[in-house]
Amino acid sequence: MRFVIRRLALFAVALFGISLVVFVALRILPGDVASIMAGLNSPPERVAALREQLGLNRSLPAQYADWVSALCHGDFGTSVLTGRSVGAQVGARAQVTFPLITLGLLIAMALGIPLGCAAALARKPAVRAAFHVVAIIGGSVPALWGGLLMILLFSRGSGLIAVFPSQGFPQAGWSDPGAAMMSLILPACTVGIIVGAGLMRYTRAALAQTAQSDAVAMAMACGMTRTQAILRVGLRLATAQLVSVIGLTFAEMITGVMVIENLFALPGIGAGLITDVGNRDLIAVQSELFMLAAFFLAIGLIVDLLHRVLDPRLQSAGDNAEVNA
């Protein structure tokens, strides 16, 4: 319990730090939303008037204070350009990005973990090398190229096996679940293969490490085969490590799938962030970055907590130290 409280306190401090860094970093960018709104060929007075109207000429500490106090009330602000609440905007985009990365991660796990296990178990050098090559190729495919390949192979219209839509998210969104799901399959497979290759390497490395451990040796001494020992004992020991990797990968994918979102014309979080930065819609950008950072931290927190569930030794080392003594 004490551990959870300590972690939550750290979480709050980190959020505060992030808000400050994000705010300052964005103010260094050249250009502002007023000149974007005014556009080319409008007189400087108009830009000045817009700046006044949008509150851009107030002092920076005042702007920061306003933003943070609104954040404390759960209000992420209203985008100057679109006139909509940033929370709602991100929510709409999350409906594309989160299913996409969840599906992508599931595909990555379905590919990466079994292949990683197989690679760790393989004993013939030729087979190991083959797995290694697969991992390297999968991991070094640029997302854009992989996506294009997927489109050439499977997309409706231009693909060899014309099945899936290659771009866009249905107008109706998730109220048309079939179409929504279909539109995510090619991008999710692209992400899944690339992330899966990374996961495969992690799994192999983690298993190779635990395979050397006394626990596995003990299991084999008790009569398990090497395969059994690695999969039943080694994999169990490596789980904590893999959970960390998967958690962090998930968080990274939110912005990491941006290239994929662009290629498949999906209105996701990453694509939205780029548009907003381009338009210098700073209120939107700072709240979006803040939410992303908070999400990163939350994933970290969950991973830490999961570790303690998965590895009872951590608990006994922490809260129950006195029991050991």
Binding site: I36, N41, P170, G223
Partner: protein, 543 residues
């Protein structure tokens, strides 16, 4: 490998079953299934994914037939465009994407423009002006309504223009010469009085300054739009899509022929092409010319057409800059640019442009012969200015990343031949706005000036070009004060020639928009369709 483990399993089984320890034995049995379990997990995962895909496919098919049946009931056309509006606030937010989708579709102006950039009637059915060009009287149509059912009267027209001037909405400065706008509801006329004659007035009123809004309507202009046009905005997703529905209260002759038009904004060129190929959009405007080839080849199913436009790719030289204030350097650059090569590499549809006025604007004249491609002349001029290939001139070119990197690379290699070492900075548009446009801190800049009737840029020494020529300013002032179109056109042509001779910039080309659509689509505008896209005539019958 499976043989291997199988063999081990057998030996394990025999050894452990010999054990007398019950717990050890129970442990030993489960591992037998161990190696196979992960195989089962994979199989299960594949099956689950397979089922999901299969479900999704059938779900998709179901929805396809659904939309097909609604297509018959009330027609739908889906259009792919490129630049998305961030909001619908046409009075406050700049950007041609808003004009493109709203003017003529949702909002209507006092007057409008046709596809040849000529002024035609809209809210006003006719107009006349006094001999001195200071008083314009517009006679309005009868029985006009807004989409919310409100009557559109002369009051609304005068109120809209007066609000624009009073609140200094976007483009208000183009009505600086307006003295007053008065409505006469009984005569159904609007009278605009000017301080000075202005030959651009009518054309200006075809754009944002002439739009008519409902003075009694209250709505959030960023996300909604209430106008008198043939369409209403049914749904707007910023940076993504707009759904237009036919306006049931429409009063005029441009009645929507298609009930629903969905506009999707496809920023990525490849995604856009895929959308057309897969039938997700029926029209794509613009299509990157180099990607249009498969559609051009498949003329049985697609039509590809390039339309005229007023987009001028302006390579501006900082006329007040330290290195580019030397006219010889500017002239040398103009001689050294191989426009044919630039245009060919983009697909060949764009038109060479030798001066500041494109063919759809008044005062156009072919000026491409003023600075033909001539490397020797360019080198000689550079030598006079004191530079050569051994002693190159360092210049930087700053432009926004929306134009891609190819143009910068091509210009660098073309200018290298005459002893210019061009450093290309591709930046975000907002950075360009700040550094080049506002602070005028640049040597060379490249931008697509897509506006029509924008010659004033060359007559304004404070504009970012820093171009200051009294003759041009005088000619332009006279052209604006002209009371006949012929006189105006002649003066503008004269001014344009002087500008081009001074080489304050090079006009790389007049961009022509290529549009592609599937067979069965009719009535989609080709000319000027990036700023002016009336959709009332568009129909689609599935072939």
């Amino acid at each position: 490998m499976s043989e291997h483990t199988g063999a081990y399993d057998n030996t394990d089984a025999t050894t452990t079953s010999a054990s007398t320890d019950a717990s050890l034995e129970s442990r030993a049995k489960t591992p037998q299934r161990g190696p196979k379990r992960w195989l089962w997990v994979i199989i299960a995962a594949i099956v689950v994914i397979g089922i999901v895909i299969a479900l999704a496919i059938t779900g998709r098919k179901g929805s396809d037939t659904n939309t097909a049946s609604t297509n018959n009931a009330d027609s739908t056309v889906t259009i792919g465009l490129k630049l998305a509006p961030t909001n619908l606030d046409i009075r406050n937010t700049a950007g041609s994407a808003i004009d493109q989708i709203l003017i003529g579709n949702v909002y209507e102006g006092l007057v409008a423009r046709d596809e040849n950039n000529q002024v035609v009637p809209a809210i006003a059915k006719s107009w006349e002006h006094s001999a001195d060009g200071l008083t314009y009287t517009f006679h309005l149509n009868e029985n006009m309504t807004f989409s919310n059912g409100d009557k559109l009267t002369a009051e609304d027209v005068a109120w809209s223009i007066n609000q624009l001037i009073k609140n200094q909405y976007h483009d208000a400065d183009s009505l600086n010469m307006v003295k007053s706008v008065a409505a006469d509801d009984d005569a159904n006329t609007v009278t605009i009085t000017l301080n000075t004659a202005n030959s651009n007035l009518l054309w200006t009123l075809t754009g944002r300054p002439g739009l008519v809004f409902d003075k009694d309507a209250k709505y959030d202009a960023k996300t909604e739009a209430i106008g008198s046009g043939p369409y209403t905005v049914a749904k707007f997703v910023a940076n993504d899509s707009i759904t237009l529905k036919a306006n049931a209260n429409y009063w005029g002759s441009h009645k929507a022929k298609t009930a629903t038009i969905i506009v999707r904004y496809l920023a990525d060129d490849n995604a856009a092409v895929n959308a057309l190929k897969s039938g997700d959009v029926q029209v794509l405007a613009p299509i990157t010319e180099n990607l249009a080839e498969p559609f051009t080849a498949d003329s049985a199913h697609y039509t590809v057409k390039a339309g005229d436009d007023t987009d001028k790719y302006v390579l501006a030289f900082n006329n007040a800059g330290e290195k580019t204030s030397d006219k010889r350097v500017r002239q040398a650059i103009r001689y050294a640019i191989n426009h044919k090569e630039l245009i060919a590499s983009r697909g060949g549809s764009d038109k060479a442009l030798g001066g500041p006025i494109p063919s759809l604007d008044p005062g156009y004249e072919d000026l491409t012969n003023l600075y033909p491609y001539d490397l020797d002349k360019a080198k000689a001029l550079m030598a006079q200015a004191g530079y050569s290939e051994d002693k190159p001139l360092q210049l930087s070119l700053t432009y926004a990343n929306i134009y891609g990197t190819e143009l910068g690379d091509q210009l660098r290699s073309q200018l290298q031949k005459i002893g210019i070492d061009l450093k290309v900075n591709v930046v975000e548009f907002s950075t360009w706005l700040q550094d080049v446009y506002t602070n005028k801190d640049y040597d060379l800049s490249l931008v697509d000036h897509n506006e029509s009737h924008d010659f004033y840029q060359w007559a304004d020494p404070t504009y970012y070009y820093g171009y200051d020529n009294k003759d041009v300013q005088d000619l332009y002032a006279k052209a604006i004060a002209a009371t006949s179109d012929e006189e105006r056109d002649q003066l503008l042509a004269q001014a344009a020639k002087v500008v081009s001779e001074d080489a304050p910039a090079d006009w790389l080309f007049n961009y022509r928009v290529t549009t592609a659509w599937v067979k069965g689509v009719n009535g989609f505008p080709v000319n000027l369709n990036q700023t002016l896209l009336p959709l009332y005539n568009v129909t689609y019958t599935k072939q």
